[in-house]
Amino acid sequence: MTHSPKNRGKCEISLMVNGRPETVRVYPMERLLDVLRQELGLTGTKEGCGEGECGSCSVLIDGKLVNSCLIPALQAEGTNLTTIEGLAEGPQLHALQTAFLECGGAQCGICTPGMILAACQLLEKKPNPTLDDIREGLSGNLCRCTGYMQIFDAVMEAARRNPA
């Protein structure tokens, strides 16, 4: 490890991000959110509150929804991360993305990446969710614009299109 003033204390962290191997040199207590946004240029993951309440920073680690603003970089070593940028397959959008577009699930869009990933995890666990399942599954993702109604519509629609 080099000990130049800027690098002192930094460490190398390797992880998979959206299917690609990445290695970054960061302070171990850098927030994963900032690693994604600053080091990897993946600005789709957003900061809304910095305290794990709003869910705008949600990503999937090893398939599990987490708030990246609360994860120190070191703890992401060796993990498999999915961010919003990793959902679409080239021009082909994920069913949830299409459903959000068609049902009005995104208004200002700032909560949308986290919300879609939360919906992803929900549909993984419950491919045929009831409205209450959706309410509970998304309760850690705050939206100020939509009043949630059209988000629920979008998740129901995506579930309908991908019958388990």
Binding site: Y27, P28, G52, L65, C69, P72, L74, Q75, A118, S139
Partner: protein, 296 residues
């Protein structure tokens, strides 16, 4: 983000032994961090005094749920999600499963750990009343070995606990003796989900046939957010045992509950409200017990 990552060290030795050696060699120097759902909030707010942290996230020795005939042993590093998704816990320890479902949202449940909830020692911690009601025991570990202590009395005052500076919680043990009890849990927060509790009740109860009808055979009532530490209402339990659930008992327990707790006014709620609601929920529990048919 009100902290500077350059000012902090975080290491991940990778085994429990290595972490314990570190805590023993350099006592008071390293703050253990598991899922980070409490520590990282303080860090982001610029309120974390610690500058050196040691990661205990994903340590294999702290994971896992072991089911034996008399006991369920939960690794301190088990997440709330793991608690909710475990069949036996959902069936036999529903108070703990409910608490796991109420703590934060899904993303925080995937990272928050039971051990972390205990050590963070918030009076509002969701799992602690359940641990009190189930009479959980903690396995504490250090380089000096292991010891097993009842959870009751572990927390001595606001954010103070009987944990040596070189110790970690390795596991939480709960007996499998509550299958014919009524399990009652209720959390009152500012909104339905993802809210810090204003009042929290976890209670167990069982009836038996008496001369003139059902009486309370056994009862445990635990409350959170109404004192610097979670409380077992041992006096209320003592009075209630052997009595029928009627308006007199409910009235008496309501009064005793108010007397036993020390709620405060804070940014979330008021002492008077907490007091009234605590009384209401204990009364509700007893009324449900009466109608429960859960008899010895």
């Amino acid at each position: 983000m009100r902290s500077n990552p350059a000012d902090c060290e975080l290491i991940a030795p990778g085994t429990l032994q290595a972490v314990l050696s570190l805590l023993s060699d350099e006592p008071g120097q390293w703050l253990p961090i598991a899922g980070g759902t409490d520590v990282m909030v303080q860090y982001a707010a610029g309120n974390l005094p610690a500058r050196r942290l040691v990661s205990i996230w994903n340590l294999p020795e702290l994971r896992g749920i072991v089911i034996s005939p008399d006991e369920i042993t939960i690794g301190a590093g088990c997440t709330y999600t793991e608690l909710q998704e475990h069949d036996v816990i959902a069936r036999e320890l529903p108070l703990l499963a409910s608490a796991a479902r109420w703590t934060g949202g899904i993303a925080n449940q995937n990272r928050g750990t039971l051990g972390g909830n205990i050590v963070n020692a918030s009076p509002a911690a969701d799992s602690l009343p359940a641990l009190l009601a189930y009479e959980a025991e903690l396995i504490l570990v250090s380089v000096r070995g292991e010891r097993r202590v009842p959870y009751l009395g572990f927390h001595t005052d606001y954010k103070k606990m009987k944990l040596a500076p070189d110790e970690l919680i390795r596991a939480i043990c709960l007996g499998r003796r509550f299958s014919n009890y009524l399990h009652y849990a209720r959390k009152v927060g500012a909104r339905d989900a993802q809210a810090i509790s204003k009042v929290c009740v976890a209670a167990l109860g069982r009836l038996r046939s008496g001369a003139t009808g059902s009486v309370i055979d056994d009862v445990r009532i635990a409350l959170g957010s109404v004192a610097p530490v979670p409380l077992r209402l041992t006096e209320v339990e003592r009075i209630a045992k052997g009595k029928p659930v009627g308006p007199e008992l409910v009235q008496l327990t309501r009064k005793m509950t108010t007397g036993a707790i020390q709620p405060i006014d804070d940014i979330r709620s008021t002492a008077r409200y907490r007091s009234a609601v605590a009384g209401n929920l204990v009364a509700e529990f007893l009324q449900q017990l009466r109608g429960s048919g859960k008899t010895v």
